[in-house]
C-alpha cells in the first residue's frame, strides 16, 4: 500500500492509485486525480458521472457495468472518454473513490 500527500491531505492507495477506502474521498482527492489524469476543468457532467458511480457503489458494493453508467447518465461511452481520458474504470471510478474494478484479461 502506498500513500499520497496532496494539499495537506494523506491518502492510502493501492498499486494502481485507487483509494483503499471510500471514506477518505474528498474534494482534494478529486483535484488530485483531475491533475494526474490530465483533465482541465471539472464540469457538471463530470460530477454527474462521479455521483452516479458513488450512489451505485454504495448501494451495490461494486462499480456498475459501463452500459449502466451510460444509461443512467445519458452519456454515450465516447463522451465518457472525452470527460475522463483514461476511461470509466481507470479514470472515473478512481476519481469517484471507488475500489479498483476487477478487470479480466
Amino acid at each position: 500500500m502506498a500513500t499520497i500527500e496532496y494539499k495537506g491531505k494523506t491518502f492510502s492507495v493501492d498499486e494502481d492509485g485507487f483509494l483503499e477506502n471510500l471514506d477518505q474521498w474528498c474534494q482534494e482527492w478529486v483535484d488530485y486525480v483531475k491533475d494526474s489524469e490530465g483533465i482541465k476543468e471539472l464540469t457538471d457532467e463530470h460530477w454527474k458521472v462521479i455521483n452516479m458511480l458513488q450512489d451505485y457503489y454504495k448501494k451495490n458494493g461494486i462499480a456498475p457495468m459501463v452500459r449502466i453508467l451510460s444509461k443512467v447518465t445519458g452519456f454515450k461511452l465516447k463522451h465518457i472518454y472525452e470527460l475522463f481520458p483514461s476511461g470509466p474504470g481507470k479514470g472515473a471510478c478512481k476519481m469517484a473513490g471507488l475500489a479498483k474494478p476487477t478487470g479480466c484479461v
Binding site: R67, Y81, G87, G103
Partner: protein
C-alpha cells in the same frame, strides 16, 4: 541471477525450454532475472506470487494493457510491475522481418524484452513493463503504425487462419475479413462496454486451423454450397499409390480409398467401386476428411462463403462448449455488411440482456435460441437443430398463433 534448481530441471528434457529462453534474456534484463526468481519461489511455495490483475492503460484506451504486480516487490523489484501490452497482430500473422525488428527494438527499450508470439487471443504479447513505460511504448508503437489489441470486457482482436495467402482450401478471404472486422470494431476493441469478452475468429474451411469453433464467441468458418470437385484420374492415382495421401504428410505410402476415405466419411455419403468415386453431396457435412486426404483429387466446391457459429467458451462450472450454428451460409464479400451488422446486433442484444461476465453463448442458452433469434433479427434456420429428428418441439411465439388464426398457412 537467482538460484533456480527447480526451474533448471525443466531444461533437462528433449523439448525447447522457456527457462533456457528466459535465462538468455535474464543475462541483460533485470525483470527477466527476477521473473525466474519469482517463478522458482512459486514452485517452492506452491502458490502464485502474482496479485490479482491491476488497472493500467494509456490515455483514451480502456483496454490493450493488462496490469500485473507481484506480492514480493522487495525481493523481486524487477517484477514489481510486470504489465502486459497486447499489440494487434496483422491478419494471418504475416510480418516482414523489418516490422519484427522494429517491434523488438521498441520492446527492448521500454520493457523486459520478453515476447509471446503469439497469445491465444492472436495478439503479439509484450510481457512485462512498468507503468511509466506504458505511454512512451505506446507512442513508439503508434508512430510505426501499430495499435493495441483488445482486453477486458471488449471486442478482442479478431484473428484468422492464413487463408488465401497460403491455402487452396480457403472458401473466403479470411485475412480480408479479419482486417475489415478489426477496422470496423475499433471503438469496441479499445473501449470495453460489453458484459464480457467477445472474440471473432475466421477459418477459411472446416479444418478450422484457428480453432474458431472452440475458441471464439463468433466463429466464421468457410464452407461451400455446391458439390465437392472430383478429379477421377487423380482418385485413381491415389488408389494406385502414385499420389501420396495428405500430400505426403502421413506415414503411409499408399491410400486405401475404400478403408481410409469412404469408410471414414462421417455421413457415409461416399462410394468407390475401385474406379469411380461418388459423393452424395446432399448428405456431405463438409468435414474436410476426404479433401484433406486427397488434395489433388478433391477440392471444395466453387459456391463458397462461410457458416457463422456463436457461443463457444469454457466456463468453469458447465465445462467447455463449442459454437452453435446460427447462420448456415453467408456470402463473404467485401465490405461484409451483413456480417458486421449481425455482429453489431448480437453484441447489442447481449449487452442489453447479459449479466456482468456472462458470455454471449451462456446468455443464448439461458434465454433460449427462440429469444436469441428474435432478439438479433435472424430467421431460425433448420440447421441450428443439433440432432435432427430428435428435437420435435418448437416453442412458437404468440404472434405465430395469431398469424395462423388469421389464415397464415406456412412459416416462410
Amino acid at each position: 541471477m537467482h538460484k533456480t534448481p527447480l526451474l533448471d530441471q525443466l531444461e533437462s528434457g528433449p523439448w525447447p525450454s522457456f527457462i533456457k529462453d528466459l535465462k538468455r534474456v535474464a543475462a541483460r534484463k533485470k525483470p527477466a532475472a527476477d521473473l525466474l526468481g519469482l517463478l522458482e519461489r512459486s514452485y517452492k511455495d506452491k502458490i502464485t506470487h502474482w496479485k490479482h490483475g491491476g488497472i493500467v492503460g494509456v490515455l483514451g484506451y480502456g483496454s490493450g494493457i493488462i496490469g500485473r504486480y507481484t506480492d514480493l516487490p522487495e525481493e523481486f523489484p524487477g517484477v514489481e510491475h510486470f504489465h502486459t501490452v497486447r499489440v494487434n497482430q496483422p491478419s494471418g500473422w504475416f510480418y516482414t522481418t523489418k516490422a519484427l525488428r522494429e517491434l523488438c527494438d521498441i520492446w527492448d527499450e521500454h520493457g523486459s524484452s520478453i515476447l509471446n508470439v503469439h497469445g491465444s487471443t492472436g495478439d503479439m504479447i509484450f510481457l512485462g513493463t512498468t507503468t511509466p513505460e506504458l505511454e512512451p511504448c505506446f507512442a513508439k508503437l503508434t508512430a510505426k503504425g501499430w495499435d493495441l489489441g483488445g482486453s477486458g470486457s471488449a471486442m478482442r482482436s479478431p484473428s484468422c487462419c492464413v487463408g488465401m495467402a497460403r491455402c487452396e482450401w480457403s472458401c473466403y478471404d479470411t485475412m480480408d475479413l479479419c482486417y475489415e472486422a478489426t477496422q470496423n470494431f475499433q471503438f469496441e476493441m479499445h473501449r470495453p462496454s460489453f458484459p464480457y469478452k467477445f472474440k471473432i475468429k475466421c477459418s477459411g474451411c472446416p479444418n478450422d486451423c484457428v480453432a474458431a469453433v472452440a475458441r471464439a464467441d463468433m466463429s466464421v468458418i468457410g464452407v461451400w454450397k455446391d458439390d465437392i470437385r472430383i478429379d477421377q484420374a487423380a482418385v485413381k492415382a491415389y488408389a494406385g499409390g502414385e499420389l501420396k495421401p495428405r500430400g505426403g504428410a502421413t506415414p503411409y505410402a499408399k491410400l486405401d480409398v475404400q478403408a481410409d476415405v469412404v469408410a471414414l466419411c462421417p455421413t457415409a455419403c461416399m462410394a468407390f467401386d475401385g474406379k469411380t468415386l461418388k459423393i452424395d453431396n446432399k448428405n456431405c457435412n463438409h468435414c474436410m476428411h476426404c479433401i484433406s486426404l486427397m488434395p489433388q483429387a478433391l477440392r471444395p466446391g466453387t459456391e463458397t462463403g462461410a457458416t457463422l457459429l456463436l457461443g463457444s467458451h469454457a466456463p468453469i462450472l458447465e465445462g467447455a462448449q463449442m459454437s452453435w450454428v446460427i447462420v448456415p451460409f453467408m456470402e463473404m464479400e467485401t465490405p461484409y455488411e451483413p456480417f458486421m451488422d449481425l455482429v453489431a446486433n448480437i453484441t447489442e442484444w447481449w449487452s442489453e440482456n447479459g449479466k456482468n461476465r456472462e458470455r454471449v453463448g451462456e446468455l443464448m442458452l439461458r434465454l433460449g435460441m427462440r429469444a436469441f433469434f428474435k432478439g438479433v433479427g435472424l430467421e431460425p434456420p433448420p440447421q441450428t437443430v443439433k440432432t435432427p429428428r430428435a428435437n420435435p418441439f418448437f416453442f412458437w411465439h404468440e404472434e405465430d398463433f395469431e398469424a395462423e388464426a388469421a389464415g397464415r398457412k406456412y412459416i416462410k
